[in-house]
Amino acid sequence: MTKHRHKRQDRLGEMAGRTNPVADVWRNFRHHPVSMAAMIVLVAMIIMAIAAGFIWDYETDVVAIHAADRLQPPSAAHWFGTDDFGRDVFIRVMYGARYSLFIGIVTSAVSMVFGIVIGASCAYFGGAYDAVIMRIMDAIVCIPSMLLMLALVAVLGKGMKGMIIAMTFVSVPGYARIIRSIVLGVVHQEYIEAALASGTSHVEIIRRHILPNCFGPILVDVLMSVSGCIMSASSLSFLSMGIQVPAPEWGAMLSGATKLMQLSPHLAIFPGLAILLTSLCFNLIGDGLTDALDPKSR
C-alpha cells in the first residue's frame, strides 16, 4: 500500500515538475545490486575502522613486538599470520583501514573544495583571472604527479600531514578543470542571466543555481578519486615516503613484506587484498552512481 502511495506521489511530483533529484538517484542506485553490495561492504569497513580503535590498544596489540610469535603462517590464533616482529597481521590490517580511509576521504574532500572554489570562480568570472589561474592549473598537470608528490613530501616531511597536502596539491588541478567545464555549461543559460538581472548576488547564484547542477558529476569524481588517493597513499608509504613503520599502513606493511616473501608470502597478500577491496568498493559505488545519475547511458 505505502509503496503504491509513494509511487503515486512521485508521479504527481513529476507532473508538477517537483522531483527530488536525490531521491531519484537513490531509487536508481538501489536497483544496482553490485554497487549496493559495495556500499554495504564499505559501510562495514568504516564501522570496523572506527571500532578497531576501541577493540585493540595501539601500543600493546598493534605495534608491540612479540619475539616468540615471529613469522607464523595464518592459523586459528592469528587469522592472517604474524609478521617479522611477531605482530598479528589481522589486527594490523583491520587497524590500517583507519589510515587509508581517512587519507582517501579527507584528501578527496579537501581537493574537491579547492577545485570547486577555483573551477567555479574561473568559469564564473572568466577573463584574465580565468586565463591566468587555468594556465597555472594546466602547468601543474604537466608535471608527472608521482614526481611532484615525492618532491612535496620530501619538503613537507614524511607522514600523514605531508602526504595529504602533497596529494591534494596534485589532484586540485584536475577537479578545477572538470568543475570549470561543468559550470561553463550552466553559467550561460538564460535563467542565470535572469537571476543576475533581478539583483541576486554572485555568491548566491553560484550556491543556489550552479552548484546543485554540478552535484552529480562531481560526486562521481570524488568517489573515483578516493580510490585513486588510497592507492597513491599506499604507493607513497610503500616507497617509505608516507606513513612510517611501525604504523600499520597497508602500503608500509607491503614494503616490509618484500624482503620476507620467500619465507612468508602471507605478509604480501593480506594488506594488498585490503587495498584492493577498499578501492574496488569506491569504484563500484562510483560506477553505480554514474548509471543512477544517467540511466540512459547503460
Binding site: 614526481l147 619538503v155 604507493s235 607491503l254
Partner: protein, 308 residues
C-alpha cells in the same frame, strides 16, 4: 594546422616558466643546502657556508631562479650537488631504460586493450563483456606495486621462471612490463568499450547499415576510428606519465631508470637533478600531448576543422 602547432608551442613557454618556478620554490624549501649535500654530514658550518657562497646559493631566490633559467635556455641544467656532474650527464644515461619500458608498455596496452574493448562492445551484455568489465575494475583498484609483488610470488618464488631483480635478459622485462601495461590495457579496454557502444547507436552507423555496409566494415572502418580519439589521448598521457611515474616499478624490480634516479635525488635533496628532470619530463609531456592531438586531427576531419 601549422598555425595551431606554432600556437601550442608558444603556449609552452609560460607553462614551463610556471613549472620551473614552482619546482624551484618547492626544492628551495627543502632542508638541505647544496653545501650540506655536497660536503656531507661531517662538514663544518663555515665550510658549508663557504661552498654555498662560492656557487652563489646565498643570493635571493628570484636572482637564483633567473640565473638558472638563463642557463636552462642555453641547455645548461646546472650541476648535481651529489655527483658533481652536469645534470644532463647524470640523467641522460637513465632515459633509454625508462623509454624502452614506457614505449613497450604503451604499445602492449594498446595491442591488448583495443581488441578486447572492441570485442566487449560488439558482444555487449555477453559473458565475455561482463568478464572484461570485472577484470578491468579489479585491475583499476589494485596498486601497481602489489600486482608486481603477486607476480613475483608466483613466477619467481613459486615457479622459478622469471628473475626478480636487475637487468639482464628479456626475462627481466616481463614482469615490469606486465605491471605497467596490464592496468592501462584494462583502462583502454573499458574506454574503447564505452565509446564504441555510444558510437554504435549513433545516426551515421544507422545510415551506413541502411546503405548495406556489413558489421565488420561498420566496426573497423567507421566506429573504431571515432572511438580511438580518446584512446590516443589516454595512451599519450600514459606514455608521458610512465616516463616519470615508473618510479615504483623501477624500485620494485631494481631497474636503474629515470624514476629511481629522481627518487634518490629527492631523498638526497639534490635539487638540480629534481629540477632538471621536472623540466625535461614536463616538456616531454607537453610535446607528446601536442603530437597526440595532431594525430587525432589527422584521423578525424571534424577535429581538424576545429583547430582552424
Amino acid at each position: 594546422m601549422l598555425k595551431y602547432t606554432l600556437k601550442r608551442l608558444l603556449f609552452m613557454i609560460p607553462s614551463i616558466l610556471i613549472i620551473t618556478f614552482l619546482t624551484f620554490f618547492i626544492m628551495s624549501k627543502s632542508a638541505g643546502s647544496p653545501g650540506s649535500v655536497a660536503l656531507g654530514m661531517q662538514a663544518s658550518k663555515e665550510d658549508i657556508a663557504a661552498y654555498n657562497h662560492a656557487i652563489g646559493y646565498d643570493r635571493p631566490l628570484l636572482v637564483r631562479y633567473g640565473d638558472y633559467m638563463l642557463g636552462a635556455v642555453q641547455g645548461d641544467l646546472g650541476e648535481s650537488y651529489k655527483a658533481q656532474l652536469p645534470v644532463s650527464k647524470v640523467l641522460l644515461p637513465k632515459f633509454p631504460i625508462t623509454c624502452k619500458l614506457a614505449i613497450l608498455a604503451v604499445l602492449l596496452s594498446a595491442l591488448i586493450g583495443i581488441p578486447i574493448g572492441v570485442l566487449a562492445a560488439v558482444r555487449k551484455g555477453s559473458i565475455a563483456d561482463t568478464g572484461v568489465t570485472v577484470v578491468s575494475l579489479v585491475l583499476a583498484s589494485m596498486p601497481g606495486f602489489w600486482l608486481a609483488l603477486l607476480m613475483m610470488l608466483l613466477f619467481s618464488l613459486k615457479l622459478g621462471l622469471l628473475p626478480t631483480f636487475g637487468l639482464g635478459t628479456w626475462k627481466n622485462y616481463v614482469m615490469p612490463l606486465t605491471t605497467l601495461s596490464l592496468p592501462s590495457a584494462a583502462y583502454v579496454a573499458r574506454m574503447v568499450r564505452i565509446t564504441m557502444i555510444n558510437e554504435l547507436s549513433s545516426d551515421y552507423v544507422r545510415t551506413a547499415r541502411a546503405k548495406g555496409a556489413g558489421p565488420a566494415r561498420i566496426v573497423f572502418l567507421h566506429v573504431l576510428r571515432n572511438a580511438l580519439v580518446p584512446v590516443i589521448t589516454t595512451l599519450g598521457m600514459n606514455f608521458a606519465g610512465l616516463l616519470g611515474g615508473a618510479v615504483i616499478v623501477e624500485q620494485v624490480f631494481g631497474l636503474p631508470g629515470v624514476g629511481q634516479e629522481i627518487l634518490n635525488a629527492i631523498n638526497a635533496k639534490d635539487s638540480p637533478i629534481v629540477l632538471g628532470s621536472t623540466i625535461i619530463l614536463s616538456l616531454l609531456y607537453m610535446v607528446i600531448m601536442l603530437v597526440m592531438d595532431l594525430i587525432n586531427a589527422l584521423l578525424n576531419p571534424k577535429i581538424r576543422d576545429n583547430l582552424g
